[in-house]
């Protein structure tokens, strides 16, 4: 029998090892797998490479891993946000390696890894500092830059509902990096608000098919970045 349901957050992330490359889903607060990230923070795994659109805010989610000194490299498109002080400080002090990638190139590099594509040519970033040192090619009179896939050891993703095969349905704009990242990691770990019986998910609505998912852990009442950051600010001002 195929059963990818995992009993606890700690169990779901137990084999994430020092030095792992991890795709982390989410765009700002939407789709951020905070419960999985905080379990990883508690586990203390170090020397991580995090691939994610943002770098977290306050000391929540990715920012907590950064604050704990667990991350050696971050690959992202937009690390700076209101209250992203942890990455600001680490970067200024030279304590973290930052690879800045245009957002669409980031998504497509991840998708390419999942789709078995060895790279692709994109017009994005031609003529900018982010294209320096990369192979250029003119195709039908237009200039492109070669971009390579970003594969990960693990993906940490948040979805709305999942079943024991690993099929996923997302909630609204939570979907963002979920589907491409689920494809692009050796081990994909997903926190869902609700586990449902096989057959309950509408096959027409499944945005990540089971084959791309390895573990599903139910978190009925997930942590909220907005609430946690507000609490931190309240404490800081107290």
């Amino acid at each position: 029998m195929m059963n990818k349901i995992t009993g606890s957050l700690d169990e779901a992330i137990a084999d994430i090892h020092d030095g792992a490359v991890i795709h982390v889903g989410g765009f700002g607060l939407a789709g951020s797998p905070i419960d999985l990230l905080h379990a990883l923070a508690d586990k203390g795994t170090r020397d991580l490479t995090i691939v994610s659109n943002n770098a977290g805010v306050g000391r929540v989610g990715i920012a907590r891993l950064l604050y704990n000194g667990q991350v050696s490299k971050i690959v992202c498109s937009f690390p700076r946000q209101q209250n992203s002080t942890v990455i600001d400080d680490l970067h200024r002090e030279g304590k973290i390696e930052l690879e800045l990638v245009p957002q669409g190139t980031l998504a497509e590099r991840i998708r390419a890894a999942g789709a078995g594509v060895g790279g692709f040519y994109t017009p994005t970033s031609v003529g900018t500092p982010l294209a320096e040192g990369k192979e250029h090619r003119v195709i039908d009179g237009k200039e492109y830059v070669l971009e390579l896939p970003i594969h990960a050891d693990f993906a940490l993703i948040k979805a709305e509902r999942g079943d024991r095969w690993g099929n996923l349905v997302y909630h609204k704009a939570q979907r963002n990096f979920g589907p491409p990242m689920c494809m692009a990691a050796d081990t994909t770990i997903v926190q869902v608000r609700q586990v449902v019986d096989l057959g309950e998910l509408d096959p027409e609505a499944i945005a990540t098919p089971s084959i791309f998912v390895d573990r599903v852990v139910e978190v009925p009442d997930p942590l909220s970045e907005r609430v946690l950051v507000a609490e931190e600010e309240k404490q800081a001002n107290a």
Binding site: I87, G127, N176, P180, S224
Partner: protein, 224 residues
């Protein structure tokens, strides 16, 4: 010197140039204002690059959903007919030439329509987001900006000295004093403030301008 347009008035002016039936991406910051001033008789669909078509305004109190945010991570809503999709599809829309218009801010625009708008070059922490994809793929790139920096320097310059976002990508600049088209013939002034002499506009611009034969006065209603 006539009164320059306010931010809201520039947004209103941009809105006049968004045709009925357009798919539009508005950048974070000043471009977001365009949504407030569109002609009411036009149906315009907003794309948000984190995976939304048919994005609506901010939610009413009690209707907020933390999984529904825009590119600026602000809470938004979905309009009837709207849809959600993942990031790779979202940027296929953008890079693949399916977005009619994107509206962005600018630090500098060059004579040939190069754009610099993502880093001042000495940021503590740079961030690029989707700007490079948007300018590479959108059918038209509208720039909303003050004509000059706070220090009075022109934003339209011979060559951008700041790191580029894209080359030759700008279609039209909507500033607080003029509307200027960019193309193979160089910058052409389509509108300028009533009472603003061409020489004065030229003085405040870093590259030679040409005045369109059919130029119009740049006007907007009082919007604050």
């Amino acid at each position: 010197m006539p009164e320059p347009l306010t931010r809201n008035q520039i947004a209103w002016r941009v809105g006049r140039d968004v045709p009925d039936g357009s798919f539009v991406n508005l950048g974070i910051g000043m471009p977001e204002l365009v949504a407030n001033f569109l002609p009411e008789d036009r149906e315009i669909v907003f794309q948000s690059e984190n995976g939304i078509l048919g994005m609506g305004p901010r939610p009413e109190p009690g209707e907020e959903d933390e999984e529904l945010v825009n590119a600026g991570k602000k809470l938004v809503t979905l309009l009837p007919g709207g849809s959600f999709f993942h990031h790779a599809d979202s940027f296929a829309m953008i890079r693949g030439g399916h977005i009619d218009i994107c509206v962005l801010g600018a630090f500098q625009i060059s004579e040939t329509g190069d754009l610099a708008n993502w880093t001042t070059g000495n940021d503590a922490l740079p961030g690029v987001g989707g700007a490079m994809d948007l300018v590479a793929g959108s059918k038209r790139v509208f720039i909303m900006t003050t004509h000059n920096t706070k220090g009075g320097d022109p934003k339209i310059v011979k060559e951008c000295t700041l790191p580029l976002t894209g080359k030759g990508c700008v279609s039209t600049v909507y500033s607080d004093i003029a509307v200027i088209d960019f193309g193979p013939d160089g910058p052409i002034v389509r509108e300028k403030l009533d009472g603003l002499e061409f020489d004065e506009l030229q003085e405040r611009t870093g590259v030679p301008l040409r005045l369109a034969n059919d130029w119009q006065p740049l006007e907007a209603p009082a919007l604050g």
